[in-house]
Symmetry: C2
Subunit: 241 residues, 2 copies
Amino acid sequence: MPIRRFYKLYLSPNRKYVKSLKNLLGFVPGNLSLYRLAFRHKSVAQNIKKGVKNSNERLEFLGDAVLGSVVAEVLFKQYPYEDEGFLTELRSKIVNRVNLNQLARKLGFEQLIQYDTKMVNSTRQSSLLGDAFEALVGAIYLDKGYDFTRNFLVNHIIKSHIDIHKLEQTETNFKSKLIEWCQRHGKDITFELIGNQEGESNKLFTVQAIIEGEIMGSGKEFNKKNAEKLAAEKACEALSI
Amino acid sequence: MPIRRFYKLYLSPNRKYVKSLKNLLGFVPGNLSLYRLAFRHKSVAQNIKKGVKNSNERLEFLGDAVLGSVVAEVLFKQYPYEDEGFLTELRSKIVNRVNLNQLARKLGFEQLIQYDTKMVNSTRQSSLLGDAFEALVGAIYLDKGYDFTRNFLVNHIIKSHIDIHKLEQTETNFKSKLIEWCQRHGKDITFELIGNQEGESNKLFTVQAIIEGEIMGSGKEFNKKNAEKLAAEKACEALSI
């Protein structure tokens, strides 16, 4: 064991924190302040300069991008005969907030995240886990580089905790999700096919998802079914369903 | 000069293609088939298996992710005191289709892209350039790895061709862009404030951008101006303006 590593794990004043990170991540972190930042929710952050807080939000921005790139490569290689639509959809199933929240909870992030319980309600608390996961990816990237982060994500996260094949099977059916929601809330929903716009290809279908007379989502695709699907997806997004 | 490199540039049957890529990219490519694929638009692609074509679309998916990650890091480091909202907005100004199209045109992609002029109209043709740029990033990533791709993008693309500081200053005014486009095409445009939905906060404004009676974009924000802005942005996106 190299001396630095030994010092960090057994002698340094931060040894307890280093050990808990090592248990979580499977490796000894280098720059501890990055990891502390990744686990610091904005509710406990301080202003460091002109309104910018030392919260994990900037790291979340970076980590989200790195995670997206790693997952893109994994899927690109794992599914050589699927098109980019399939890859995009499957990636969003993997990196969506609900999935990342569950993952972070399973990994035991709750003990590591610093946040103000008074300022964070229970809904936000759960998305706070997924946000911290992305921030952690950003921290690892800055600390150890892309290839390390990629190997960490592939070997410690994706292989052990994400069942890509299962996610592939579970189709997120936005149309039935939307219709169900409308039924539950006693709202009227229709899908309307809209005429083509000037200059548009005849083969293009535009469908609007209309709830209580208000257009909540619109989709343009080369077949009607997909246009409906897209309109439903956008409406779900607009309504945060 | 290593023998392989010498062979590729001066002796191989592909030496002409290798040279044109070297002129464009500044390095000698490894796996040529990846680069050929990056420049192959779907209009000239063949089916390789159950409906999947050997076009650049899968590489575009991968390259989009890698590019997003590299630009995220560049901005993260260049703007240490800006929040994630600023970083997200600036990144989208850099990697948006219009900007990537211009970039690809400037780099001379037009000579390299293979596409069927009969099947591609002029509007699509221009987004074809930006798409190919992203696909090229995917090809370089698979050929040379992340760090190489990152250095290539930073040193050959971002430093030489992208004025981040200027983009930071230019606010993309989607509303005036949309109105301008409507005037040019003789289309009627209105922005309509929609009543709140049941259960929604009173402070929330929903604005729809309506062109020729059709809702082309909708925005929900805590002030009317921002809701209009968002509606205009979505309409611009829907119309590929």
